[in-house]
């Protein structure tokens, strides 16, 4: 007789298999297409193995320019969002007043509205107040609006667990505010700050919706991919997808290795 727990186990196994197949199979197909000689992106019929699309991608100057823009934007967004998120987390965890809930709602609102709304409003704001038309700057501003909120939430979650008696003890021993902040608060928040910087970079590098509306005629990598996929469909974009996958796997492996090292220390 088959026990019911055995059936449940098999069902769970099948579900997991199905779920991860669903998650990875599209990416496998996409990668296969990158190596097919066919001029249009398709996996079948298979016309033979080639690296041509990687070579084409490598010689695509506009791709490199868009990539450069993406790096500039992402680094700037990290430099803005992490300090802003940290400050906002400090305000929300340390200060107490009636308007706090309202302020909190206002600060998380950028992640609750669609990215295109932020893109449009940022574009119009800089255009009508400062006569700065859409470009790298407005893209940075638009993205930082909601990425700061993500950083704030991440840092806040850790800041709430900080044992305040440590800070009080330092104050009692005569340490100044800056010293307490740099010697106690900041080291405690460090893991959250590092992960919020990572998240901010990824979010910025990935961002399509907000950037599309804020950036005007300039291009970041996602905007460039969007135009390519809509207008001149070529397997070179699949090659770019494979590049993303390789970088991602490399990143994931590095992360695991670093984590293991940390554990054995």
């Amino acid at each position: 007789m088959i026990s019911s727990s055995r059936i449940l186990g098999v069902m769970t196994g099948l579900y997991l298999l199905g779920f991860f197949t669903y998650l990875f199979l599209p990416l496998v197909f996409m990668s296969v297409v990158a190596f097919n000689q066919s001029d249009i992106p398709q996996a079948v019929p298979w016309n033979g193995f080639t690296f041509d699309w990687f070579v084409a991608l490598f010689h695509d100057d506009r791709m490199w320019q868009a990539f450069g823009n993406s790096l500039i934007v992402a680094v700037s967004v990290v430099l803005i969002s992490v300090p802003v998120g940290l400050s906002a987390a400090m305000v929300l965890t340390r200060l107490h007043c009636k308007a706090k809930n309202l302020l909190y709602a206002l600060m998380v609102s950028p992640i609750l509205v669609p990215g295109i709304v932020l893109g449009i409003s940022t574009f119009l704001f800089w255009d009508s107040w400062f006569r700065i038309s859409g470009g790298i700057w407005t893209a940075i501003m638009g993205q930082s609006t909601f990425i700061s909120a993500y950083c704030m939430l991440l840092i806040m979650a850790r800041a709430q667990r900080l044992d305040r008696t440590q800070e009080d003890a330092a104050f009692d021993l005569g340490a100044g505010h800056n010293r307490v902040f740099f010697k106690i608060t900041l080291p405690f928040l460090k893991p959250a700050i590092i992960s919020s910087a990572g998240l901010a970079f990824m979010q910025s590098f990935e961002n399509y919706n907000t950037t599309l509306f804020a950036i005007g005629i300039q291009q970041t990598l996602p905007i460039y991919i969007g135009t390519q996929l809509r207008v001149f469909i070529s397997p070179a974009m699949n090659a770019l997808g494979v590049a993303f996958i390789l970088v991602t796997i490399f990143g994931a492996v590095m992360y695991e290795i670093l984590k293991r090292k940390e554990r054995y220390r």
């Binding site: 579900y15 779920f19 990416l27 295109i116 919706n209 994931a252």
Partner: protein
Amino acid sequence: MTGIIKQAFASFGKTGAGIIFLLVGGWVIFMIISPQLIALDYSFRPLLPLRDIGGPKDAYTLKNYITLMTNTLHRAVFFKTIWSSLLVTFLALCLCYPISYYLAKAARRSHVSLLMMCIIVPYWINELLRIFAWQLILSDAGILNQMLLWLQVINEPVNFRAGDTAVIMGMVYAYILFMVFPLYNAMESLDKNQIDGARDLGASWLRIHWKIVIPHAKPGMAVGCIMTFMLAAGSVAAPQLLGSPSSFWFTQIIYTNYETANWNLGTAYAEVLALLCLVFMFLMLKLFKVGLKEFVK
């Protein structure tokens, strides 16, 4: 107000408080509030040729908002976007509930971090490319059609991209992580003894979920649904890459207005979209009886 400043000086010192207020103030005023006010201002003004701007014709009007209701195409697309986004949200919830439960309560600890990594890793690949992968599967010459033809299930390629099927499938795929994460976080804090206790007392598998797991996971379900709905309704890439001419999305109407420099109408529609997401959020928070504070988790 002075109370707040005194508190800030006491907690952060003068320099610290100054920097913190400057950063937070700059963010709230120049990035959150002012752009939204400017956008609202645009949305309530008519589209005018340059010479008329600031003139007598440049007065506040509801015209742009009324257009959404009078233009039958725009209205139909708007309601279709709501309906389809609800469907995406529901499908994502059904798909992600079991995996989240498995990761949070059923899986061995040593497996969890590996499986979690497997879920997160695809999200480091650009959203557009992830959605494009579905185009390769669902298009006329795509893998699914080729396979069905080969198996002789069909004689001619099926146009999977007609209607919204492809767009909805692409979106569910693209936003899984935003559903799994909040669900997993909420379920992880559930004490496993409660489940074991209920099981020992003879509760069925369904009853355990209905009476224990779901009530506990409510905040996560609310957050997951809110995020997924917002991403779906506001998605630009999925309809652009997977949609057919017959499956317009509300964001595409906004984008068309933007390209033709009709800022006023485009902005009004964007505001309606933002309002829609906020209304959905409040409905979810009421339905699941949770507060906005849950987002901190």
